[in-house]
């Protein structure tokens, strides 16, 4: 896009370092305390809701790694979530519930899919990249739809959950909650380290000026592909958890509106800040839940809310947090 350099300023708004460190800490502490809150009168289903939100937060976080940090707007990320979910679903249906078998298989499948599609997609940039990743996402979607042996379009109900060395670790709701939280924290830490590393620096630099980075001696596509593969695997992990939470997998998990929603979560939270993606997923799903319990026409409220939010804030929720803090600090 001709005006990319001018536009990139908005996505790279520097966030004060204290905020960057403090905000995620606060988020994780609050999340860790939430199950206590449900004892104190928070509606019981909040545990389920927030578990689901955290699973989507993992997927959104993985997307932010390529979208926010790498500047690659992937519009097919739901495919990875779907691969993760189907991996779990198919293995369980075939009688293999062991997590230590399922996870490596899923991560490998995601890595392979990411490598192949990433290799092709990374030839393009900008909008073409958005659309080519959409194309691969749709292909995965139609493929899942054609999987008659595993329910086709009707999806696949799982009558068991994954186990760890035979233990039913996903059976207990609070237990599941903390597993999701732990996974999210792990993924966040991993992403944080990656971004701060040499690899991450090159990835960030390439977003803003790929020619410069190339001329400096890096193979930009190589770096981007690496990030894409890592991100795809992380999203697959989210899919694995999602299948175990809903006891159900469906091609709908891979449809393009789903990929779109992941993008919205990232943008809502604040592009490129990582913890913003977590906030975005939480805000998106919790607002949706609260509003939809008020009225079936909740979208007539949610829509304008989003529009107003974009019009009156810059840099998503993370930008808002940074700004509020900045104001208080003087």
């Amino acid at each position: 896009m001709a005006s990319a350099p001018a536009n990139s300023a908005a996505t790279t708004r520097p966030v004060a370092p204290t905020v960057r460190r403090l905000a995620p800490l606060v988020i994780f502490i609050l999340l860790a305390l939430l199950p206590l809150g449900s004892m104190l009168g928070l509606p019981g289903h909040w545990l389920t809701l927030v578990t689901r939100a955290m699973i989507f937060a993992i997927a959104a976080l993985s997307l932010d790694l390529v979208l926010g940090i790498g500047g690659l707007i992937s519009f097919g990320h739901a495919a990875f979530v779907g691969i993760g979910a189907y991996g779990a679903g198919i293995l369980i249906t075939e009688g293999q519930t062991e997590l230590l078998v399922a996870l490596p298989v899923i991560l490998l499948a995601c890595a392979v899919f990411a490598t192949v599609t990433g290799y092709v997609s990374l030839r393009t940039r900008g909008v073409a990249f958005i659309m080519i990743t959409l194309a691969f996402g749709q292909m995965a979607f139609y493929f899942a739809q054609a999987l008659s042996a595993y329910g086709g379009d009707d999806g696949l109900t799982l009558y068991e959950k994954s186990t760890l060395l035979g233990h039913e670790i996903f059976g207990n709701r609070t237990g599941f909650y903390y597993i999701a939280l732990g996974t999210l924290a792990f993924c966040y830490g991993l992403a944080r380290r990656l971004v701060a590393s040499r690899f991450g620096r090159v990835l960030r630099a390439a977003r803003e000026n790929a020619v410069r980075v190339t001329i400096t001696g890096y193979d930009v596509n190589h770096v981007r592909l690496g990030a894409y593969v890592i991100s795809g695997m992380m999203a697959g992990l989210a899919g694995f958890l999602l299948a175990n939470q809903t006891d159900f997998v469906s091609p709908a998990y891979m449809s393009w509106p789903r990929s779109g929603e992941l993008i919205f979560m990232v943008v809502l939270g604040g592009v490129g800040s990582l913890y913003g993606a977590i906030l975005g997923a939480l805000a998106f799903l919790v607002t949706e839940d609260v509003l939809s319990s008020l009225t079936h026409n909740w979208k007539i409220i949610f829509g304008p809310l989003i529009v107003l939010f974009v019009l009156f804030t810059h840099g998503g929720i993370a930008g808002l947090v940074a700004k509020l803090r900045g104001r208080r600090d003087g």
Partner: protein, 249 residues
Amino acid sequence: MAEPALALKGLAKSFGALKVTNGVDLSIAPGELHALIGPNGAGKTTLVHQISGTLKPDAGAILFGGQDITRLSPQARARAGLARTFQITSTIPSLSALENVALGVQAHSAHPLSLFRDAASDEALNTPAWEALEAVGLAERAHAPAGSLSHGEKRALEIAMALTLQPKLILLDEPLAGVGHEEGERLIGLLNSLKGRFAMLLVEHDMSAVFALADRVTVLVYGGVIASGAPAAVRADPAVRQAYLGEEG
């Protein structure tokens, strides 16, 4: 005679019907500062692009330290020690000046893409980066995002970035454009002090700089070389005066 740092042999490039590079032969000795001058649109930047690998020539060969690099990717050329600056400044706006320079240091380290170690606090990267910033007089602005530097400061930053690539040859495309008189003097001083450490190809319209710095000068007009040699000889060449220098030379 030692192997030239850079040799162009019959290089040619056209955009449609326009021959922008028209059979250019050029040779730069190690440590030499070679100036490339010529009217606007003569094909200087296009030539720089071909040498650095961002444009593919239609014909001819590029030898770098004796090795044919015509078909190498830009990043491979950079790793081999070929650095450049851009005519239109090209930095990474949101990274600080220091990080911009450290990016270059990192490219030539043992683990340019290591995944987990924190890069910002990595002294192996920061120390050489500071040195390069100091060399171009930008140390005070080390922590400012490159995007907020003034035009002249960005030019200096570009040179610092090139310095970190442990270059054997630097391509400088109009490094003085937009640089004020005072900073210009300093930049000329800097380039002078760097002379001999590596070869340089300097594209520049500021004749006072060219004649103050160059060991040899080549004049390009309509994609072809019309004169090449010692500065004084080129300056006196009537064809060059007519096509390019006018009164000023």
